[in-house]
């Protein structure tokens, strides 16, 4: 465990633990919904990367904005979203965060500052940077965090956005979740040179951190967020992490690009939840029984939300041409 300064507030630690378990539980249920053919379409699992989203989002407020990715359930939960609206969205139901119009890959929750998941790899680099521009333009101290994967470092937009963010000293943090794979290809096969050096070339302060260590991620995030609020941004973080599932839930047979041994090693020896749990117990911040109670409570919440979403109603057909424009109720009428 990292030598992160022990927080005085046990509640904060337990909330971080609970948020990580909520992400894992959400993904386990989403995976089951897919496997049992109850969920339309595909989805991309965040399992294994929980410490990244939770470590960073726990350093943010609802006024701070994030942009998310196709692997975005973790960011959404960590930023404060509710299970019920999330499962409804995954199942295309009217009560979903986007009334079923976005789905897994476009889930957005602006009430907690989540500007939405983006299904174009690297597509939100400009959006997060723009949110930071608003913050600076309006004289606020809000920070924007741009979550993206190692694969997005191959998109030109990232360099254009980082260049302007550095020129204009915008309060944006680029959070590169390096899970080792760009879809079905090893990152080392698609990224030449160093990833943090890309940001450093623009004069952006860049850090690499163990993305499986929630305390280390959170400590770094707290520090950088505070500095960004003071106008010292932008910053860049490369978070070394791992995705337990394939690129998406249908990517089952993946031994041609990575071995089962490798997957087992990450799951058994570097799992962010197991690591944090044992730290909490060792430090005497929670008993095994208390931890189990949290787990059971989250599991129950998730099961109830799934049940609710399965029975929730779909949007009315008349919604199909609503929300095309803000000022036209039915675009095709």
């Amino acid at each position: 465990m990292s030598p992160a300064k022990k927080k005085t507030n046990t509640e904060d630690y337990l909330r971080m633990y609970r948020q990580m378990v909520r992400i894992r539980s959400f993904e386990d249920n989403a995976n089951q919904l897919y496997l049992s053919a109850k969920m339309p379409g595909l989805t991309h699992m965040y399992s294994g990367e929980e410490a990244v989203a939770v470590g960073i989002c726990e350093a943010l407020t609802d006024n701070d904005r994030i942009t998310s990715t196709h692997r975005g359930h973790g960011h959404c939960v960590a930023k404060g979203a509710e299970f019920k609206e999330m499962f409804c969205e995954l199942l295309g139901k009217e009560e979903g965060y986007c009334r079923g119009k976005g789905g897994s890959m476009h889930i957005a929750d602006q009430s907690h500052g989540n500007l939405g998941a983006n299904a174009i790899v690297g597509g939100s680099m400009g959006i997060a940077t723009g949110a930071a521009l608003t913050s600076k333009y309006l004289g606020r101290d809000d920070v924007a965090v741009c979550f993206f994967g190692d694969g997005a470092t191959a998109q030109g937009l990232m360099y254009e956005a980082m260049n302007m963010a550095a020129l204009w000293k915008l309060p944006v943090i680029y959070a590169c979740e390096n899970n080792g794979y760009s879809e079905y290809t090893k990152t080392e096969e698609i990224a030449a040179g160093s990833i943090i050096a890309r940001a450093q070339a623009f004069g952006i302060e860049a850090h690499q951190v163990d993305g499986q260590d929630v305390l280390a991620v959170n400590a770094l995030a707290q520090r950088l967020v505070d500095r960004a609020r003071k106008g010292e941004g932008p910053f860049f973080i490369e978070l070394m992490t791992y995705r337990y599932h394939g690129h998406h839930v249908g990517d089952i047979n993946r031994e041609y690009y990575r071995s089962k041994e490798e997957e087992r090693d990450w799951k058994e020896n570097r799992d962010p939840i197991i690591r944090f749990r044992s730290w909490l117990v060792e430090e005497g911040l929670a008993s095994e029984a208390e931890i189990e109670a949290i787990n059971a409570e989250v599991k129950k919440d998730a099961a109830e939300a799934v049940e609710y979403a399965l029975n929730a109603k779909y949007p009315d057909p008349s919604e199909v041409d609503m929300h095309v424009f803000t000022d036209v109720k039915h675009a095709l009428a």
């Binding site: 940077t129 333009y137 254009e160 302007m164 095309v324």
Partner: protein, 331 residues
Amino acid sequence: MRNITLSQAVNEALAEEMRRDETVFILGEDVAEAGTPFKVLSGLVEEFGTDRVIDTPISEPGFMGIAVGAAMTGTRPVVDLMFGDFIFLIMDQLCNQAAKTHYMSGGKLNVPLVVRTNLGATRRSAAQHSQSLHALVAHIPGLKVALPSSAYEAKGLMKTAIRDNNPVVIFEDKLMYNDKAPVPEEEYLIPFGVANIKREGSDITLIATSSMVQVCEAAADILAAEGISAEVIDPRTIVPLDEEALLKSARKTSRVIVVDEGHQSYGITGEIASRINEKAFYHLDAPVLRMGAMDVPVPFTPALEDLTVPTADAVAANARKLVSGEMIHAA
């Protein structure tokens, strides 16, 4: 009423809106001290400073994306895209992000931004600085598209665009920046989706956009001398489109030519002609004709470039055929 140039009209619209609403700002290449290559924005940086008239690097996708994020979070950016041809560079941010955000979020997120750019050939600028690409964006649900045809429209439509809560793309005719037209001193807005009957007529309707409105007015003059009364209608915005006004005129004259500077195939002219065919068929006394730019990249040499766009003479010649009842197989 005073006469001012289209450049001045756009400049006034931006200045008025920036004074009215502090969340409005401009970003783009060489917009501040340079005032753009066409000098449309000259003077704005002096009044509003570089915080609100922001020079960007030559990074169209980057500053377009930044504008989308800024618009989603409480400001009203006006993106200056130096040439309409560069719209290909910003397609993902404009069409996948800005256009879809309101819908994908179930109506929870808005993207109130304006992209102001231009169209129009015959400036001897060759194939990558002469295109009229408004049909590309008009095809994407979620984007509004305005095509001012004079200084008056340029000001009124720009002010409406800035106040709109949706992404709006305005294409100005870059050959018209120095053309003067009467523009009121007092403030006015031009609502979207309201066509303007530039000239009333009874024998044939010429539906014209942007640069082609002048061309069709000249064609109407030629025809008038021959005793043919042509009505010229400018839709002013193609999304939303004032379909009813166009149909009404079609029903009145029974003959229609649609003229637009975009490439003729798969373009605005085909869309409008098709709607008239579907909804005013039994009022048509002749086939609806399309006249667009030739389906070729815009050539550099004046000897060829001038052949690629519709002219007043060509419009008049087609109008004559329709009115005389000549068998039309192709325009």
